[in-house]
Symmetry: C2
Amino acid sequence: MTKKIIIATGNQGKVNEFKELFSGIDLSVSSLKDHWNPLPDIEENGSAFYDNAKIKADWVYERRGGVWALADDSGLEVDALGGAPGVLSARFSGEGATSESNNEKLLNDLKEIPEHLRTARFKCVLVLKTGPETYLSAEGTCEGVIITEKSGSRGFGYDPLFIPQGFNETFAQISSEEKNKISHRGKAMRALYKELQKIID
Amino acid sequence: MTKKIIIATGNQGKVNEFKELFSGIDLSVSSLKDHWNPLPDIEENGSAFYDNAKIKADWVYERRGGVWALADDSGLEVDALGGAPGVLSARFSGEGATSESNNEKLLNDLKEIPEHLRTARFKCVLVLKTGPETYLSAEGTCEGVIITEKSGSRGFGYDPLFIPQGFNETFAQISSEEKNKISHRGKAMRALYKELQKIID
């Protein structure tokens, strides 16, 4: 029997990535917008990426029991800022934050920090709720540095300021195919996929 | 090939429970004491049961890569205390805490609270690290109430003060077999086992 899975996100870009990833296994994929209108506003008040992803997966599972629920949470950890913005990545510049205002705040907070100390990493945690009491989760990390000026127009969020290790272009400059190979989300998705293949009946 | 699994606990009682549970599947089970002497002191500074279990599973996995690592974390959440002692259950009464001193503190903190408001639950989270980036986890909850005087001599921790829903004896009075059927750890273990069966090659 085809297993049903709901992706707990309103971000169509992420939904498409998951649909593509899962195309090889017997899964029927839908997302929040196929089930709720307007989109629910799920409060993500966890103190770690895992907690927030779990909150979203639980929220969906409780309302659509029996259907698997998959959620992701991700963000940027900057060493010179003690790991900030972390779980607050999307809301770094406060109320009404946009990628623009978040990037501005990041550049400002780092303006005294020399290049070699601007190390950072993107992290992604995926949580799949497979039953009332069980979860499958996967993590992905992508190490890099924060540059001093935005570069590139692809991607979203902090991508124009982040150069992954071993590259000399930002996440906003490299192709989405290239990015997917090395990105935190790409890594987490492939790790989850590998586990998932084993448990699909 | 028989899969190897290390249980990240120094508690022989728990190890035995896991060994018994896993006897039906092709797993070679060992525990901390089979690998480390003296036993490592893994700092559990997470803010949730999941975090602490993950800290222990990660610790073992990093040092014994390739071998699965399974950890549990559990505790008591008392509604009238806003969910305390929670992750601090084992250290509730501070430095050098024992079951005795923890139970005393719990009774004292609840002494003004009438019977019908002394609701509480034991929770258990199991985290199994199956690869560098993947985890399988399971939760179990057992609802009940905290009574006003210790009763029974079995079990450990807060068992003599906890009467599970639907019973009129404490966890320290019922048989371990009976307890295992309804306990937080029993439930989490069976949920994990069910998932595990699917992914054992």
